[in-house]
Symmetry: C2
Subunit: 334 residues, 2 copies
């Protein structure tokens, strides 16, 4: 395989000159540039990024940690990040942590060894161990679709509490009073708790009594959680007219289960979801949901990362606006 030395020898220049030419560093004439470029072409030479990385301490690579949540959400995030990263000449290594602490630590070690320029951590609680490891080595870090309460780390996310509040208020506006909630994991401080709080707040603010039994907690935010959760919820409250689901997948699970139980959506019970994943508009009835601009947010996170890396910038966390996407899963009560 041709190296910079081969090019230098064949072109009768020093390797420094070749390097300068490749990096546009001034100190050569147009004539030698042409000559060198020609022999590069002839030899089919490609610079070795590993060698370059060794000396420049830059690998042009970032790591992205994703948990085992909705594969669609994850896919959107990775795509968004990868797009802007690639634009800037940097690659992304994906790491599926499966929400497993041990595996996550393993990945962090790996990424550190690989000398990634930065890490984007998504959709999960940033544990102390993670944070300490990352900051000990001064690796730039940004959080996507999550945030840290204990540590100061730039993040990109929507205001979950507020989004949830709006969703429920929307239902109330449509005439619903008896509203249930399909929540994710109770212990999730990011997407769990805040959404429940928003739910309660919306009810209270609008003078609807809050009953704990109207909230059904799931293991996670999956289709399965939504389906089984709804069954239990409905058993307790067969008179509810609407449900707010903490994720679109849960909403889909609920719709499916309702269908099987002979309950029609939205005629008998309305539902609004959360996330606006691609399929939410593909299903029947098309899902009314809270949209997170995931692609945009991901791109933002990537850009923040790049700024931290290249400009050593002190980036700010940014809250993204959610919005309600009205489709067909909510019925207006007279």
């Amino acid at each position: 395989m041709a190296t910079i030395k081969d090019v230098a020898k064949k072109a009768n220049v020093s390797i420094a000159t070749v390097s300068r030419i490749l990096n546009n560093k001034e100190g050569f004439t147009e004539e030698t540039r042409k000559k060198v470029m020609k022999t590069i072409e002839e030899l089919g030479y490609h610079p070795n990024a590993v060698a370059r990385g060794l000396i420049s301490k830059r690998t042009n690579t970032i790591g992205v940690l994703v948990p085992r949540i909705s594969s669609m959400l994850v896919s959107d995030m990775v795509t968004g990040i990868e797009n802007v990263a690639h634009e800037a000449g940097t690659s992304v290594i994906v790491c599926h942590t499966e929400s497993n602490g041990q595996k996550t630590m393993q990945y962090l070690h790996l990424l550190k060894e690989k000398q990634v320029d930065g890490i984007i951590f998504t959709s999960e609680v940033l544990l102390k161990d993670y944070y300490e490891f990352i900051s000990r080595f001064n690796i730039p870090l940004v959080l996507l679709s999550t945030e840290s309460i204990n540590f100061q780390v730039p993040s990109v996310k929507v205001d979950d509490r507020l989004a949830s509040y709006d969703a429920v208020e929307y239902l109330i506006g449509m005439g619903h009073r008896k509203i249930g909630m399909l929540s994710g994991n109770k212990k999730d401080m990011i997407a769990g708790m805040p959404r429940v709080e928003g739910f309660k707040m919306a009810l209270e603010t609008n003078g609807v009594e809050v009953e704990e039994s109207l909230i059904e907690y799931g293991r996670g935010f999956s289709y399965e959680d939504g389906a089984s959760g709804f069954e239990r919820l409905f058993k307790r409250h067969s008179d509810l007219t609407a449900v707010f689901a903490a994720s679109d997948e849960m909403a889909l699970g609920m719709i499916s289960k309702a269908h099987r139980m002979g309950i029609s959506v939205p005629e008998q019970v309305s539902v609004v979801g959360f996330d606006n994943i691609a399929v939410s508009e593909m299903c029947i009835p098309a899902l009314t949901t809270i949209a997170q601009p995931v692609q945009e947010m991901s791109e933002r996170a990537a850009r923040m990362m790049l700024d931290m890396i290249n400009l050593n910038a002190n980036v700010q966390s940014s809250a993204y606006p959610h919005r309600i996407v009205e489709r067909e899963s909510v019925k207006r009560l007279k």
Copy 2:
């Protein structure tokens, strides 16, 4: 940041010894091992994979090229590959080619510069340029969910023609005669043409006349393609009782459009899809479809890749069995 030199100095040994210990290379006593490990711990030393990669010519990294097809399929593939790769201590760099030839070549250059140990190319036609570039540098290559007719490259995929044949024969078995097809891109030699051929073959074999107008070609395999395709198809043949869609997303698009047109699935028209993506069982009606064991296939591809890299093995292409997943989108005609 601590390097191997720091460790060596602090532990009073040579760097060679530290290296040997870290790589289990024999040539040290248990005593010195303990001593060295202790100072590694104290210094918080982590080996630098870049330096290691430079000399060992191994980066423990592979590149995965994915096109802009169903984000769910892509997600499953990447997950499958990443899982087994990580198991073996290698990372994966994802590259979204967006089915863009120029961008793909860019990525190939990038991956070569980054000295990846191998490349997994998915779901797309392997162009001559791609192949030549990759093979010129002797980069191990495996194809996932695609294959090459002109070049000999190990691949993992299902037999599209056969799968398609089975799908259509299934419909015939359910009493359907007037069957339309929603195909993807006509020019796609991998997932386009073969599936159409399977469709025709099944009809012929079962004594049903084949009409070209029963086939509607799309731009790709998307939801949109399915929706608009069905509308045109139905305009030509309002008497069809079943449709075979070349992808689940297309099938979903069709169902949605049918719903809007006041046509009920499966009562008036049945449909079978292709892929068995996660949401196909979440929708209403749940989709009857041809399942490709994507996760399994992806894992297989990754394992093949690792074998090529580590054992220099001469791996064999493997065809994976598809199967029909019967759900609720097909009605039996008496």
